[in-house]
Amino acid sequence: MELVKKYPKLFQWLFLLVVFFALCFAIDVPETYKFIRGQAEFIKDPNQSTYTLFGKEVRYYAFDNFWRLPPLLGWLPIWINDGLFFLLNEWMPMEFWDSATQEYKTRPLILQISRNITAFMTFLIEFIREILLGGVETIVAFTSWNFVSAYPWVKLPGLPWTIVAAGAAILAYKLSGKGLAIFAGLVMIYISVFGQWKPSMQTLSFILVAAPLSFIFGLSLGVMAYKSKRVEKALYPILLVMQTMPQYAVLVPAMVLFGIGDHAAVIITMVVAIPPMILLTLIGLRGVSPEVIEAGKMSGCSNWQLMTEVLIPTARRDILIGVNQVIMVCFSMAVISAFIGAKGLGWNLLLALNQLNIGLALEAGLCISFIAILLDKMSLAWANKQTDYFGNLTFYQRYKNTIFFGGAVVVGAILALVGSFFFKEGFNYLYEVPHNKGISTADFWNKGVDWIFDTFFVYIKAFNTWLITEVLQPMRALYLRMPAVATLVLVVGAGYIIGGIRSAFTVGALTLFIALSPWWDRALVTTYMATFGVIISCTIGFVVGTLCKQNKYTTNFMLGVCDIFQTFPSFVYLIPVMMLFGVTDTSVLIAVIVYATIPATRYTIEGLRSVPDGLHDAATMSGVTKLQRLFKIELPLAFPHMMLGVNQTIVFALFMVIIGAFIGTEDLGQYILKALSDKAGGGKGLTLGICVAFIGLIFDNLIRTWVEKRKKHLGID
């Protein structure tokens, strides 16, 4: 009994596990059970049962309710779909002036709104695109088709790549200095020389619209949430779900609302990129010390001045992280939104991956990653830039960047002109290196991949087979063997032990939602893949992080590496693994591991860093060895922060598992991908996305609650 009193939590956990396993063994696999095809196939099977709710017929395989709960929420996706359809096509018909046909037309309100947004976005993207690549659309927008067809010379010439490259370098120089300027120039030259100019500029124009818009909306919503409790309360659940919502899942409903193409991609990107921006703005503003606010007020700031001059600049650090996130999300969406027809590098990447042309995919992927890193660094430099008040600058000094850019424009134009005489065969390399006419290393890489396959095929295959048959299959079977009731008990019990009734209730509700949806089995598969990735990622992350922390240089080096890797669009990770492991589950899992190790490592290093120096010295003076200090002092104190890292690792892993559906998995992601090509997929995609988000939120809730308690217990904030 004394033992029980001494370690109450331990015994609670033991009791929970005993109950869980008892349930697992007590409930047999029913004979009618098949790996559920969640009411997907729409073929009536004699073994299926049905029920009708809200006028929707839901089919499912009947079996023991302890084993799997019936899909009582099966009507939800259909209902969402019908709701969307109704909103878009029937709700609130109104009269609108149609300028094309010069008459009033009756159209549902939402459809009209979505049309207008679409037109606006398309205009923005096209506008930037035509500056970079040339065209006539913008002129049409400002004049009319009649004008354009009357004058054949009317055509907006795109900027020659030399000018854009020089412009990027000069901008980088102005923002940061020589280093960044050289990098910017090299990136642009690389893009051009490798014949990726056109898709790159398409992607860039997409991002130049999506990123600033996301930033502005995110910042304003964040400020509003900071000012008003009510706005915050309204936004909070959305923020929470969006944090763990896979990006795929948003594609589907957005496609229903806005159609396909670049404009839809921009809107989806905004939907995904705004929540983290709001959250970080809010965190930043909350962190501003009250005295600084008071100092601002006493300086006589009006509310607007207080916000723009004091609060936002002081919260700059967190807001910058937000900007960083926005850029990251934009790039990863630039690839993912290729699924709904966004043009650019993402499209090429997807195409190449589909054809298993790893070399081409690698080139496109590198291009995206380089542009991502460049924009990331430039936005950071821009935010850190200082103004000099004492500059008694000469005219030349003041305007030297402008002068240089002017010079570059002239030189570039002349070069392009000269080029048009020089290159007779129709491709003016000094104007634009056409796609597929640049240098390509694709063959080299493809041969490399072939060589790796030829040489190491046996070993890779052996490893692959071993992993799948000995580790993955059994693990998957174990997950699927869990009766739904047992899983519920486990999750709710864990919630109760960690966070009490409230927490138990929250996680229980989240789990129940998934259990009652038609995709419980798929959710288990998703969880199994994510768990596998998380376990390995955390092991690697903890070890690497701890080792790197032992030395100042390796610490900084590792954080730098994490920064760069984090900037890569998530899709890019699939390229090298497909190179090595082909189209298998192993590929997905390895991509998951690589991607999810980033936060694990970063948080380990940051956690160890946050251990106060005083404790460090106190431990040393008590005569501990280095190892003792690590295990007795540093790791226990850093552990809560490291657990937050685990939390992030789970989110990253889930993202990658879902993206991995592209390679071919059997989980929720696969169904989301399927919903993309389904005409009535909107509701399904959204519901599936919510399921994935909820898996993330269950872990998020448990870990956060634990961390908060632990931190309070340890007396660190």
Partner: protein, 341 residues
């Protein structure tokens, strides 16, 4: 109105959901305990005082005594729950947002304990900030700010960032910023508490030098009784939101009003605080010693001179007229007598 620049009439600040209602029901008889039972915390309890032009009022109290809250009521960073506050005759609590901003832009300056500098701005930009907010043209405001930089002795560091400065230097920036708009009223909220003792002393001296020159109306908050004695024209001692005593340093040391105040004064070296006038006797016709002392000097500075005499010493005023006498035994009593063993 008289020359009172700041005037408070029974100011209350009570934190809590239905503070206003409870204050009305209390009918001017606020008891912290009953309020606390009802979920309200009394910050400032019935504070009434005046600060006249050019005077420095030091509000002294330990943490939680409500001194900072009082200051924030008077600068209206928080709204007082009850009472009246007049700034140069203007009713502060009835000011609209716009008028309040105008008042702050032109009349008030404030220095903070943790400096509260804007981390993204350089020293100069921080000092320019209030001027920039006010809308002063750039060149003019930069010149003004450079004057301020020189005033607080930071020349050559105007392009540094706050994080590159020591605590003392940062507070100099804070002081310069608060003075940039040439305010009449100067609030200082524990400005030197976060500094090392040596730097603190240096800053106090510097502060006195500045005040000599600027003659601002000052409210100065501190938890350090010695600092209060050193700087104040008058001291208000606060406890649990109530002003226990408000008087000149000498009078507080000589006649502590409550037990609480006494605890502070006991350890104070009187000779450093009191001036001759505080201890002198009425002028007599007895035979006096040859030397004379001025009534305004601090005892410490003339103690040796007086103690070297056998007879009483004559005390003179500024017109060299004899206004009293001091006996050496009186000095000895002042320095050593009346302290706890």
């Amino acid at each position: 109105m008289t020359d009172a620049v700041i005037k408070c009439e029974s100011v209350y600040k009570i934190f809590g959901a239905n503070a206003k209602k409870m204050l009305q029901e209390a009918n001017g008889n606020v008891d912290a305990k009953t309020f606390q039972e009802n979920g309200c915390i009394v910050g400032v309890n019935n504070a009434s005082f005046e600060v006249s032009k050019g005077e420095m009022l030091v509000v002294m109290g330990l943490s939680g005594s409500g001194k900072s809250t009082l200051l924030r009521c008077i600068s209206r960073l928080t709204d007082a729950t009850g009472g009246k506050i007049y700034i140069e005759g203007q009713d502060l609590l009835s000011l609209k947002e716009k008028e309040l901003i105008e008042l702050r832009r032109n009349k008030m300056g404030m220095v903070f304990q943790s400096f509260a500098l804007l981390p993204h701005k350089t020293v100069l930009e921080n000092i320019v900030f209030p001027l920039q907010i006010k809308g002063v043209e750039t060149e003019k405001s930069i010149n003004k700010a450079m004057d301020m930089v020189k005033l607080v002795g930071l020349d050559g560091r105007e392009n540094y960032f706050p994080r590159e400065l020591s605590g003392g230097q940062q507070q100099r920036v804070g002081i310069a910023r608060s003075l940039a708009v040439e305010p009449d009223i100067w609030f200082l909220d524990e400005p030197f508490s976060a500094l090392d003792p040596l730097i603190r002393k240096e800053m106090q001296d510097e502060f006195l030098r500045l005040q000599e020159k600027l003659k601002k109306t000052i409210m100065f908050i501190t938890h350090d009784f010695d600092e209060a004695l050193k700087l104040a024209d008058r001291i208000a001692i606060m406890k649990d939101g109530i002003i226990e005593q408000l008087d000149t340093p000498a009078k507080i040391v000589l006649n502590p009003a409550t037990e609480y105040v006494k605890k502070f004064t006991e350890e104070v070296p009187r000779e450093k605080v009191l001036i001759i006038e505080d201890v002198m006797d009425a002028p007599t016709t007895d035979n006096l010693s040859d030397i004379k002392v001025s009534k305004d000097v601090i005892i410490e500075n003339v103690a040796e001179k007086i103690l070297s005499q056998q007879k009483s010493v004559a005390v003179t005023d500024e017109n060299n007229k004899i206004v009293g006498t001091v006996n050496p035994s009186k000095i000895i009593h002042t320095v050593f007598g009346g302290r706890k063993k």
